[in-house]
């Protein structure tokens, strides 16, 4: 590895630009003469629309147009589908509703789009939206998945007759039941995995523009790639050629999995732009962003695990409810079954596995992919089970894990996925050693002498990265000025692709990172087969695409160099940016520049070093790791402070340790946010009551513990760079490590589990609970200053 190549902690190239406000976000874009859009959103969780009066809104100052579902219907704009296909054991397919772009006759959650106003200014558009008069007839609503299963619960889709569109099972439970019956130990865990708001820093925004001259629409929006949204918008909704739609997402302030979808606002805005023959811009405020972006998590898991007398798992049964929201988002029901299903039952060998999933409709924002997308939920459940198993068997928490870790690779999971590599025990050993697990009891005693309760938790986890779309399209071009341009299908929305991809180019071509330029996020410019970034896929997919493209460049470069050095291609070597033939040598840059000159290359050769590669993966990869968390609880207030945090990761070959650590920090922050303070709360009337940062607790930088990070590198065997994803690992490890530590600290009070977020009030009640008979509040937490 050279100074800037693979494995070097190169600082993020993009940071000076982004930190100095030179980013190019959607809201930075404006088109001459643009209008502004504002959506009227449902104030009701569930209601019929008896009538709509648009007259006052249409007559309001500056208003160009007001649209409702009637206008979209008249133009034949179809509703939005869910892309997931599932069936029950008998083969009956999952029932799927369609979501209207703008509500038609009925609204099903607070914040659902009902009408779009287009006016000259944003203020005028919002003002006019308030003038739309709707005669509502409210209906009973239900926000909680367990409530929605009860007889007599309000039905989201009366035509379905219930709120569950499919009962999916991996197989009948007979074998697992039999094995469970013979188990020496049985442990049960019931978990509510709290609903989260993804909350990227950039609020939702979009600008749709119609170019009459070219007969072409452009959408600027904060997507995670844009190619799929382009195809959806063009082919499904507008019925135009795909190339007549352009989607641009230059800089994006966070994606987390929920900025890759074709949102109804985008459809309405591009359609409206075409209708008025101009441009329409829309910018959501934070609360509107909370309603518009899909939510994450929101599962209820009930599991039973059986172990033999040696503490080895013999059977596992999991029943999962996933709250879909009112409609099925693109990936909605996929979360537990495929998102989590790719790894479940996680790091452990389970001979008999039964898995049942019921997706449930409720009057809430739809749920979809959010950092980890089903894997944090699966890992959390398995780690709570392993802690329970330790408790039941009397084995230590690390020993019961050790006895059940998968140790032979490749390993085929009960769900049919093949884990290529890993060394889970070594990762756990490393993490425990770094965290000084051995001497923890001394620290517990010392804390106790000060009046504090201490606990320590360990969580092993596994991830799956690079799933779903199996290809990515990358292109690398050597420019005349000696620089290299990457046309990237992968899309950075904060991850640092510019840095890491430049390092790859440096590694393979010897060009300095400062001379590498990343072009992304514009469907007119990125390769045709571009997909984008989600599921921790860019190191493997984009990275391999760059490697292969660079190899093609070198292969062609060898021919050019041989021609220029009057040698034979076979006699030319290339290493560290230099072509050599005998005593002659030429730098990559010299050859690349010459290659554009038709008079200096072999006859018949196309000028230029400009090669693309559509990389097709063999398999996804399986990042994994182990986190150890140590907490100290102030029993008077219930405040738990993290006093030590260790994260050891196996993300395969490390391309840039700084970037990987950054991903781990961010993931841990999100995981601790879920575990400690985040909670998307709906009240009994279906109102979303934590829809601002005044009520929704976001983890803040100053509250984050110092995170000690380490690598347990086991190169991936199934991709050219040997990489495994890194983006979602932190969010998988942190919740079980934290809750495990908390439960350990509260062991003397009979606590065996605590649902997230584990707020100070919950902790305080666990300590003093017996004095009270009333219910705890749903909500939040606090810190003493």
């Amino acid at each position: 590895m050279g100074q800037f190549g693979i494995g070097q902690p190169l600082r993020r190239k993009e940071d000076p630009r982004l930190l100095q406000g030179r980013g190019q976000y959607t809201d930075d874009m404006n088109v001459e003469g643009q209008f502004w859009g504002a959506f009227l959103r449902s104030p009701h969780a569930h209601a019929d629309i008896l009538s709509v009066d648009l007259e006052a809104a249409r007559a309001a100052p500056g208003v160009k147009a007001v649209y409702t579902s009637a206008d979209l219907d008249a133009d034949g704009v179809p509703d939005m589908p869910c892309e997931v296909e599932l069936a029950d054991l008998a083969g009956a397919p999952m029932w799927k509703p369609m979501r209207p772009i703008l509500a038609r006759n009925r609204v099903r959650f607070v914040g659902e789009c009902v009408a779009l106003v287009v006016a000259q200014t944003q203020a005028q558009a919002r003002e006019a939206a308030e003038l739309i008069e709707i005669n509502w007839s409210p209906r009973p609503s239900v926000a909680d998945a367990q409530e929605a299963l009860k007889p007599g619960a309000p039905l989201l889709w009366p035509e379905l007759g219930q709120n569950v569109p499919v009962h999916w099972q991996n197989k009948p439970s007979t074998e697992a039941d039999a094995a469970m019956a013979g188990a020496a130990w049985r442990v049960d865990v019931n978990i509510v995995n709290n609903r989260l708001v993804p909350a990227p820093m950039e609020p939702k925004a979009a600008l749709a523009s119609w170019d009459e001259q070219e007969g072409k629409l452009t959408l600027w929006a904060p997507t995670q790639g844009g190619r799929k949204i382009q195809a959806n918008l063009a082919k499904r909704y507008l019925r135009i050629a795909q190339d007549k739609m352009r989607v641009i997402s230059l800089d994006v302030g966070g994606g987390f999995g929920m900025r890759g979808q074709t949102y109804p606002e985008y459809v309405a805005l591009v359609w409206a732009a075409k209708q008025i023959g101009g441009a329409v811009k829309w910018r959501a405020d934070r609360t509107e962003t909370f309603f518009s972006d899909y939510h994450g998590r929101d599962q209820v898991n009930e599991a039973q695990m059986g172990l033999d007398e040696y503490g080895r798992i013999v059977a596992l049964k999991i029943h999962t409810l996933v709250n879909l929201g009112a409609y099925m988002a693109e990936n909605g029901p996929r979360m537990p079954i495929e998102g989590g299903g790719r790894i479940i039952p996680c790091c452990y060998h389970v001979p008999h596995f039964y898995f049942s999933v019921k997706p449930v409709f409720t009057n809430t924002v739809s749920t979809d992919t959010y950092r980890g997308a089903g894997r944090p939920e699966a890992n959390f459940l398995m780690e709570r089970l392993m802690d329970a198993a330790a408790e039941a068997t009397g084995l230590t928490r690390d020993e019961v894990r050790r006895r059940n870790f998968i140790t032979e690779f490749p390993y085929k999971t009960p769900m049919g996925y093949v884990i290529d590599s890993g060394d889970f025990a070594r990762g756990m050993d490393d993490a425990m050693r770094m965290a000084e697990w051995d001497t923890f009891e001394e620290r517990r005693a010392e804390a106790y002498s000060r009046g504090y309760l201490r606990g320590i938790g360990v969580a092993a986890f596994i991830e799956a990265a690079g799933g779903r779309a199996p290809t990515e399209d990358m292109r690398v071009r050597a420019e005349l000025d000696g620089s290299v341009t990457i046309f990237s299908g992968s899309h950075s929305h904060g991850q640092g692709h510019d840095t890491v991809f430049s390092q790859l180019v440096n590694e393979f071509l010897g060009v300095e990172p400062a001379s590498v330029r990343l072009v992304q996020g514009d469907t007119d410019v990125t390769p045709r087969g571009s997909i984008g970034t989600f599921g921790s896929r860019s190191s493997m997919m984009g990275g391999a695409g760059i490697k292969m493209s660079c190899e093609k460049l070198v292969a062609k470069g060898v021919k050019v160099a041989a021609h220029l050095m009057q040698s034979e291609p076979d006699a030319v070597t290339f290493s560290q940016g230099v072509f050599r033939a005998g005593a002659s040598e030429m730098s990559f840059t010299q050859v690349a520049q010459a290659a554009w000159d038709a008079t200096r290359i072999p006859e018949g050769m196309t000028p230029g070093l400009d090669e693309g590669h559509n990389f097709q993966r063999e398999a996804e990869n399986f990042p994994n790791g182990c986190h150890v968390c140590e907490v100290e609880i102030d029993p008077e207030t219930g405040i738990a402070e993290i006093v030590r945090y260790v994260a050891v990761d196996d993300c395969g070959a490390v391309l840039n340790p700084l970037i990987v650590h950054g991903q781990v920090y961010g993931g841990v922050a999100q995981g601790l946010g879920q575990a400690m303070i985040e909670n998307a709360l709906y009240d009994a009337e279906g109102q979303f009551v934590s829809a601002t940062y005044m009520d929704y607790g976001m983890p803040r930088a100053h509250r984050m513990p110092f995170i000690e990070v380490g690598f347990n590198t086991v190169a991936c065997r199934t991709n050219p760079l040997g990489v495994k994803g890194a983006g979602e690992a932190g969010a998988c490890g942190a919740p079980p490590a934290f809750i495990g530590a908390l439960v350990d600290a509260l062991r003397d009070y009979g606590v065996t589990h605590m649902d997230m977020p584990a707020t100070p009030e919950k902790i305080w009640r666990a300590i003093y609970g017996a004095q009270f008979d009333t219910q705890e509040s749903d909500g939040i937490y606090a810190e003493v200053t």
Binding site: L681, S690, Y696, F772, S777, I780
Partner: protein
């Protein structure tokens, strides 16, 4: 945000005249509470009357055995003021734990007190330190000022010009902070003036109040231990999505004891 007319009067009199004349005029100080309400379209005043130009309403000065803080003084200025730091360190500490730096550099004591948010910090200081609210018309005693949730004794055409804090012998403020908003879930100011003790509580109820049981016990023995046996009734305390009234009642006791320890 709805449209409004903006005024930046140069004198208190012209501010008052505007406030009287405009149909639905509203004072704006730091805007930290008012602006979000406007942006969320929850309020639509016809006119905004900005007090920013009234320099006589800014700053801190010593006044006999008290400290007078101009209504337009920001939280950051109070926190950093040398006199406040040396004479009422608890007040400086309180101002320094309001919200975040941006809020502290915009938000004002006048705006905070006038707004009477049940979770705001200053009300604990006003009540606990027995401050006097000085307006263009009169002086209002702390015990008469906070009426209920977001409601004070202020009349429509009344502007707070300053707040006067007597200097206590000892005082301490402790806050249980809501990590989403930064406000006080419970905040307690305990102050000792000779043989008198005052305990001001914010966050726990609809408006700041005095914990008189605590005061009586502390006047006999100013130590945190005496509070251990005195339970706070949860009956009139707030219960919301963040915390129950029982937890708040418990925290009032804990924060009071810690405030004494810090005093």
């Amino acid at each position: 945000m709805h449209n409004f007319d903006y005024h930046a009067p140069k004198t208190l009199d012209s501010a008052l005249a505007l406030l009287r004349d405009k149909e639905d005029g509203k004072i704006i100080a730091g805007g930290m509470t008012l602006l979000p309400t406007l942006k969320q379209r929850l309020a639509a005043p016809s006119d905004l009357i900005d007090l920013a130009a009234l320099s006589e309403m800014k700053g801190v000065r010593r006044d006999g055995n008290g400290i007078v803080i101009g209504a337009m003084t920001t939280h950051a200025e109070v926190a950093a003021n040398g006199d406040v730091q040396s004479l009422i360190p608890a007040l400086s500490h309180l101002a320094g734990v309001i919200g975040d730096p941006a809020v502290r550099h915009r938000g004002t004591i006048g705006g905070s007190v006038a707004n009477a948010d049940p979770a705001a910090d200053y009300p604990a200081a006003v009540v606990g330190l027995n401050a006097t609210i000085v307006t263009n018309k009169r002086k209002i005693a702390a015990d008469d000022f906070f009426v209920s949730l977001f409601e004070t004794a202020l009349e429509r055409d009344e502007i707070i010009t300053s707040v006067r804090f007597p200097i206590p012998e000892r005082a301490g403020y402790e806050k249980f902070r809501h990590p989403a908003s930064g406000y006080a879930v419970v905040g307690v100011m305990v102050a000792k003036f000779g043989d008198k003790v005052r305990v001001g509580v914010t966050g726990a109820a609809g408006s700041a109040f005095r914990a008189s049981d605590f005061e009586a016990a502390l006047e006999k023995n100013f130590s945190s231990e005496v509070l251990l046996g005195i339970a706070v009734s949860p009956d009139d305390l707030l219960s919301d999505i963040h915390c129950t009234n029982e937890y708040r009642a418990h925290l009032v006791n804990v924060m009071a004891r810690r405030a004494i320890a810090a005093a």
